[in-house]
Symmetry: C2
Subunit: 332 residues, 2 copies
């Protein structure tokens, strides 16, 4: 059974999930699976997956049958499980929690060799909509505090299956990184009565040197303190705290911005391995004036080493100004 | 020129070091160099390196000549530089610092295919002694706040050169991870008047289920909240705050413990890629009663993915109890 454990030296919880070791290719030396015939995420192989939670499919087509354009399913090797009751126990110095949560997979397309960078904007919007649907459904479970949406593309980025998919892990607590961002944003708002991220966007839209792309409502930036080369963050131009509350036209504009940026990255870096991470408010949180959502894209061009593990700092050999200039000049 | 930049959303500084992109093999697709003839760290190729800062070599042998058993040199592609003056500036919301610091390489052996796991204890002690010598020398520069010693072994762990070496990066500030540990340890001491890490060692020596190895003065543990499979931490059995203040016999016992653990890991995991990280007090800090040094070994068996980047949490498929049992049973 998965379990959450907290390190007494820092605010880092770890999910100990022994079932995950049963996955094919769970350790590093393996490559992402590229065998289409045996791919559990390909159409016709629905019997190889858990039963779908949500799908985009023709009206009246049976659940778990082919013909879909998107499916959301429980992860077969879940890091956390909804069936586990909340439990919190001490073990001397240590803290444990039962592995209450959810771990889902969003199969983004029937195309084994597809992916967000190859989709048109309406197809991408359909994926974003699926994230919203699953977050809204999980937010009804009051034990769950945060839903982390992410995508690992390519083996160096942590993917074990090649078929395009994103994942959702819902946690019984607000994770350390989001908690730290909320603390910093709350302090900024306390001092200035302005959203830290809105201030950041305004400064970047004036400076322009780290601007990658913009449309009517979204802006893509190489962050000032980029942790790794060619990191890009997509921000709303106006204050939008929670991802799951974006309306259809906001999602459409985000999809268009995301498409352009992903295509620029694919061309500039020749189809890099990459992580996508959605940073947003905790579930059921009211729309605060002090923090807003963003999407983080992190091409996997460098590896964290001992320095990064020890310090929590990163060494980035590419300045965000250079990365942004290069991406602006890349036609997509 | 390298520069430090702080993300306004968290306490994470990033070193933007464009010179590092000039390195051979600086991006991920490259493999660690294994060409002995052109290895800058092999004996006879001393002219390919910067001039040595410290070496173990026969009496009266000239500096930068062959015959050495260990050399410490400035990194040719430094993340930080001592020549850069301290400067701190604001840029709107953002914070910048000049890239003041030091980045050194400790070539641990003349053997291209050697490494700590293949050395005997006195050879390992010689490497540990070199870390102390360089930390003590750099601690005379009062601009430097923390010296991070680390080792990246193998391409998946971030190594770009195969020849066994460790690195030292001295920073003008105390890094986030150490600062958080010091805060937690100070709070524990404030409440209980005991060192958090001494309490942890005492609890583990009683529980025994995460014990990997011990000798008269050191203990190797799989941490309760291990971030990754087969992580092992080496702690002193009695309170020893600063690495650079360990005496010769303490270093010798640490070397013996480290040798056994590295050999167990090499056998159990078939020569894994790995990071070694030294966690210790900031430079020139008095020997506090609340925190003590440890050595962290992190085999690179999994990759951080989007979930880890987004949350700061890790998913570990191997319980530390299983890892410790397996390593205890591995003869080394």
């Amino acid at each position: 059974m998965p379990e959450l454990r907290k390190d007494p030296l820092n605010d880092r919880w770890v999910i100990i999930a022994p079932e995950r070791a049963d996955r094919p290719n769970s350790f590093l030396r393996a490559r992402a699976d590229t065998d289409v015939a045996n791919c559990p995420f390909c159409p016709g192989n629905e019997a190889l997956t858990t039963s779908e939670l949500y799908a985009v499919r023709p009206a009246n087509s049976p659940i778990n049958s082919p013909g879909w354009t998107l499916r959301a399913i429980p992860n077969r090797y879940p890091a956390l499980r909804t069936e586990i009751p909340i439990s919190r126990t001490a073990d001397g110095l240590y803290d444990r929690m039962g592995g209450t949560g959810a771990h889902e997979v969003i199969i983004e397309t029937p195309e084994h060799n597809g992916g967000l960078a190859k989709m048109d904007a309406p197809q991408i919007a359909q994926v974003l909509r699926a994230w919203q649907v699953r977050m809204l459904d999980l937010s009804r479970d009051e034990r769950l505090a945060y839903a982390q949406i992410f995508q690992n593309v390519g083996t160096p980025a942590g993917a074990t299956l090649a078929h395009p998919h994103s994942q959702l892990i819902a946690l019984p607590l607000v994770p350390r990184e989001i908690a730290q961002e909320l603390t910093a944003a709350r302090a900024h708002f306390g001092a200035k009565s302005r959203c830290l991220l809105c201030d950041l966007v305004a400064q970047e839209l004036t400076a322009k040197e780290r601007l990658v792309h913009e449309n009517e409502s979204w802006v893509a930036l190489a962050p000032f303190a980029s942790q790794s080369p060619f990191e890009v963050h997509l921000h709303p131009k106006t204050h939008r705290p929670s991802f799951e509350k974006l309306d259809g036209s906001e999602l459409g504009a985000l999809a268009a911005c995301l498409r352009t940026v992903l295509r620029k990255l694919a061309i500039a870096l020749e189809g890099p391995a990459m992580n996508l991470v959605l940073m947003t408010l905790p579930l059921r949180e009211p729309a605060h004036p002090f923090y807003h959502l963003r999407i983080v894209l992190k091409p996997t061009l460098t590896q964290p080493g001992g320095f990064e593990w020890g310090t929590g700092f990163c060494i980035n050999p590419t300045s965000p100004e250079d990365a942004a200039r290069f991406l602006r000049q890349t036609e997509a």
